[in-house]
Symmetry: C2
Subunit: 222 residues, 2 copies
């Protein structure tokens, strides 16, 4: 175990950070391929080309790796929320937001697919998921408000509340649904497109003729 | 342990079946209140007024009780699927189907709320959930077809497929959503109404003026 610890802070600065990042990248890759339940720390160390003792220097448990990956997921959601151009009535603003959000979902898709076992083993994630959900909802509600003011969607306040809740349900659980109810375990890019389409389809019936014209014009130019 | 076994088949016929049923009812009640993870077989035996050895005569494990309750849930879904009057274009047929289905969900709500930990401990349920999901989808699709033919809903085939998938996602995961993302652990009847409203709201934007007139007339008479 002695040589698992880098000899000095300087050495750690040179080598430690990149080993840590490599371990996180390898863990994310293996978790995505097989799910955290079917990956051992020994396999992660092996795939990263280090010995297991060295892995334990960085991460005491597999759970610690899951939580660090969740930190990164959360940081990406934060960056999405901080990006500007939310203050728009352009339907493209919503489409862009949705796609950027699903790009994050794609990178961290194991969190969605293995949502059930993750929450069972790390109940502390509930609080953080709740916070992310609440913070993501606000900009979408703002966007919808702008679109409604611009005559692009026709929706009552009550319908909007029901719609927003359904958006969160479909956004979060479409991967579990595909897994449990459709038998899709290995997500492909086509499934990501399917997820985007499922969420989009919640909005489309509320689009006004004006918005549909705009969308048709967009489709014609691409 | 000796006296845990009913002395004869005749005695079992008189007392055994009812003890078994009582254990199932007590387990369902405690699972609903606290979730299977927080209920022990000792507590179930105690609440049923029998000793634990006697409980083991009927159910070897807590898991066995969960599976028997799942059998009953499945049987109720089967009865719903076998009931007639699905062959209708009347929007009331859909509303009735939805309500009957949610009455079943209400009785077995712990299965929905604790879906995540149940699947983690009983992965064999995946196959059965998949089968139930597939069988429930068919009558809803048929109902939608009748309503569309009668000019009550205006929806394309592609929109209908997307709608049906969203119906299953929202129907199955609204309870988990309320728990994980809204912090609702103890479901009240008002939450059941909320769930029905969330699923209904997926359909309402597709209703034609004819259907809306019908619904308004219905609302006026109640």
């Amino acid at each position: 175990m002695r040589d698992a610890e880098p000899a000095s802070k300087a050495k750690r600065a040179r080598h430690g950070v990149s080993t840590r990042d490599r371990l996180i990248a390898v863990a994310l890759k293996l978790f995505t391929e097989r799910g955290p339940d079917r990956v051992t720390t020994a396999q992660i160390a092996d795939a990263a080309g280090i010995n297991e003792g060295n892995l334990y220097y960085y991460f005491k448990t597999k759970q610690a790796l899951v939580l660090v990956i969740f930190d990164r997921f959360e940081a990406e959601v934060d960056r999405l929320l901080e990006s500007p151009r939310r203050d728009s009535a352009d339907p493209a603003a919503y489409a862009t937001f949705l796609r950027e959000w699903f790009e994050i979902v794609w990178s961290y898709r194991f969190l969605y697919r293995d949502f059930m076992s993750l929450l069972a083993t790390a109940p502390e994630l509930r609080r953080r998921i709740r916070a992310i959900s609440a913070r993501l909802r606000a900009p979408v509600k703002t966007l919808m408000g702008h679109m409604r003011a611009a005559g692009l969607i026709a929706i009552s306040d009550e319908e909007l509340d029901a719609l927003l809740a359904n958006v969160w349900i479909v956004s979060t659980y479409w991967v579990v649904y595909l897994d449990v109810q459709e038998g899709v375990r290995a997500l492909k890019k086509a499934h990501l497109e399917w997820g985007i389409k499922q969420v989009s389809s919640l909005f489309t019936p509320y689009l006004t003729p004006l918005a549909r014209e705009w969308l048709d014009a967009q489709a014609a130019t691409t």
